[in-house]
Amino acid sequence: MTFNSLPYAAFLAVVTGVVWRLRHRDQNRFLLAVSYLFYGAWDWRFLALLVGSTVIGYTAGIALEGTDDPARRRAIVMSRVALNLAILAVFKYANFFLASAVAGLEAVGLSGTETSLRIILPIAISYYTFEEISYTVDIYRRDIRACRDPVAYGLFVAFFPKLVAGPILRPRELLPQIERPRVRPDGDRVLSALGLLLWGLVKKVVIADTLAQLTNEIYARPGSQSGLGLALGTLCFAGQIYGDFSGYTDMARGAARLLGFELPLNFRQPYLSSSLTAFWRTWHISLSSWLRDYLYIPLGGNRQGLNRTMVNLLTVMVLGGLWHGAGWTFLIWGAIHGVALGAERLSGRAVDNTETVARWQDLPRILVTFAVVCLAWVFFRAPTVGDAWTIVVRIATLAPGDTMWTAAVMLALLGPVLVVTDVVQRRIQVDPEEPVDSRLGPALLRRPRPVLTGWLVGVALTALVVTSGGQPVPFIYFQF
């Protein structure tokens, strides 16, 4: 039951219809039940893992708060985090480490036995594990109090709009919204929620899925593609992954808003960033801020000299890469970002434009940043490191070969949609009161004009009709 399927639309409509007929406590019970139903619809076998992890997290939180003995508190938090990481290690990384160990043995001339544990990755495990770690650590740091209501804690972990692909929520972001009675959304909020759902669906089905077909074809035969063709394929993937993931997040936020919740932004026009530092403040914000708060800063952050800062950056980004998947390609993707962030830090020229509107004079920096991001995407998308290297070399040498011009046409059609909406959104986010050069933004968001809004919705529906049909394509980040 993916967000881009009709069963999910029916599910969300029923849940929204029922939830506002219930009292607050019953709303939470109902939402927890339907969240488990939603998760069980993927694979009911892993529901026990989710529930078990929730019970342990809830119990550990209360135990942690119930003692002031530092040693005992440390033991509780360490064992809880270790258990979380152990679950991740078994389900997500066991096969990778075994295969790497065998390859390592063979590389030094020792015989290794190919072993596969045939472990299936439970969906959402990376997301709820990180949320539970932050809950336990925040209690340990005395930043929050333990949640005494098991239903509320269960809902914090399993709330279905964010369960399978985030945003990775902090306890402070979601628990108060669960514990306090929520206000039924008025007409404007319902419309804005439906707008998020529609725009997210367009980004996923129209933009991401269309570009995905081109990326898949181009990346399936990197050796026969020209350097230009592979560059187009990489641009397609850059658009695909942004449309796919930010589309999912928009739909998650829209669904949550219908249910009276407000989820934080997970993307803030990342491809308008003028540095990698800015990129990581705007791309998958909930993961990057989690890594900053629970990994980078505890490692020492930038407080222990330049060398240590470099090591910390590289460590955090490599682990961030491995969070996405157990593979060398993800590790290298993280390492590229780590090295690039380190280089920016060394040069002292990291320009953070996240709080300013997109300006023409920033364009060279934006393009350079985007190029580095795309270079890293090659490793993220390619099935093997060898393929990724082939792609990079063929692009760099402008190798001759096949060029899928359809990719250029589709990028010319769909790319501007993303760029224009990002530029307008950035302008509005930076200063909601400032008149926007384009009248599109205020016209839609502050003084919605019926004809223009209707035209845009009509175009969106048309695009959805044309690009839909067949089985819904799963979201990329569901696999992480």
Partner: protein
């Protein structure tokens, strides 16, 4: 994101809804202007299926003879001609263009045999139906996913029914695969329209009857070469044959499996040529005999090139030579005796 105060005037909703509706109607109108220049899109993957649906409906009820197979049997065997020379009275040839045996089995068991109860089934085969590859997989997938097949086999879920209904109402939705790719759309508009195959009332493939091997279009040769490259008998297709025969045996239907004539040039398209052909013949014959079907190998006699319209379809002259052989085999079936 910053919250904005939203200002809407009275009548906003009506004007908004009207604007959405007008936009949808304009786009649908534009699609209807372009659609005549595109290949017609039916509920089935190809127009042949639609033709067979009509043809089979016209001969509804108990058939004496049902012919199944690819376009080779479609071109080679005419139930009406068999009738004219003393064969079964009512017959129909439900052939498919370029199918693997899996598609024939799927369509026959889930659709055709749900509608008609034939006394005899003649299954025409060549080695082409027993090879796996992108073409075979695409054929099977297109058949499985088509609303026509899903509706006919009772597999249409509520979402598919909605989409099917939408496609019947909206040209934009029906031609969505054309409109999805602007480059292909322009190419399709400029391309010569495909002329659907002409079917007789008995389903017989009327086209190519006057053709000769020497005039065969290069595109057809290339298409067949692509299918036959790297030939290996696909066990899944042999299993599909076994399954179809089992279904027919359970229904008490007499079956004649006919190895149809093809040219040496066609056999040579397989990598190991004769060896591949012999492997195909051995496995398919064994499956036919295990399944209780009668076996007719028409390749046990020479078929000069002049009898062929192309590498694997007989022309009218060749078909005229084949019909008596088939009739003779049909008359030797136990039920006929």
């Amino acid at each position: 994101m910053a919250q904005h105060s939203v200002v809407r005037r009275p009548g906003w909703g009506r004007r908004f809804a009207l604007s959405v509706l007008v936009t949808l109607l304009v786009v649908e109108g534009a699609a209807r202007v372009v659609a005549p220049y595109l290949e017609p899109v039916g509920r089935w993957p190809r127009a042949d299926y639609t033709g067979h649906e009509k043809g089979l409906a016209a001969r509804a009820g108990d058939l004496d003879l049902l012919v199944l197979g690819s376009s080779v049997v479609g071109r080679d065997i005419s139930p009406d001609r068999l009738r004219d020379i003393g064969g079964p009275a009512v017959g129909y040839n439900y052939w498919l263009a370029g199918p693997p045996m899996r598609s024939i089995d799927l369509l026959a068991t889930d659709v055709v045999l749900q509608r008609v109860s034939p006394s005899v089934v003649l299954l025409g085969v060549t080695m082409r139906e027993f090879v796996d590859g992108p073409s075979a997989r695409a054929h099977l997938e297109a058949l499985r996913q088509s609303p026509g097949f899903q509706a006919a086999s009772g597999r249409l879920g509520w979402i598919d029914r909605l989409d099917d209904r939408l496609q019947q109402v909206s040209v934009l939705a029906r031609h969505r695969t054309d409109f999805r790719d602007p480059v292909a759309l322009v190419h399709n508009i400029q391309a010569e329209p495909l002329v659907p195959e002409q079917l007789g009332a008995d389903g017989y493939l009327l086209d190519r009857g006057d053709d000769h091997l020497a005039d065969e279009p290069a595109a057809h040769v290339a298409q067949e070469q692509a299918v036959m490259a790297g030939y290996e008998v696909n066990p899944a297709d042999v299993d599909a044959l076994r399954h179809l025969l089992e279904v027919l045996r359970d229904r008490g239907v007499e079956v004649l499996v006919v190895n149809l004539p093809v040219t040496e040039r066609f056999i040579a398209m397989a990598d190991d040529r004769r060896a591949d052909y012999e492997a195909y013949l051995r496995q398919v014959r064994a499956a036919a005999e295990e399944g209780g079907a009668a076996w007719l190998d028409t390749m046990d006699r020479p078929w000069p090139d002049r009898l062929f319209a192309d590498v694997n379809h007989l022309n009218n002259q060749g078909a005229a030579r084949l019909q008596p052989l088939v009739l003779d085999a049909l008359e030797r079936l136990p039920a006929a005796g």
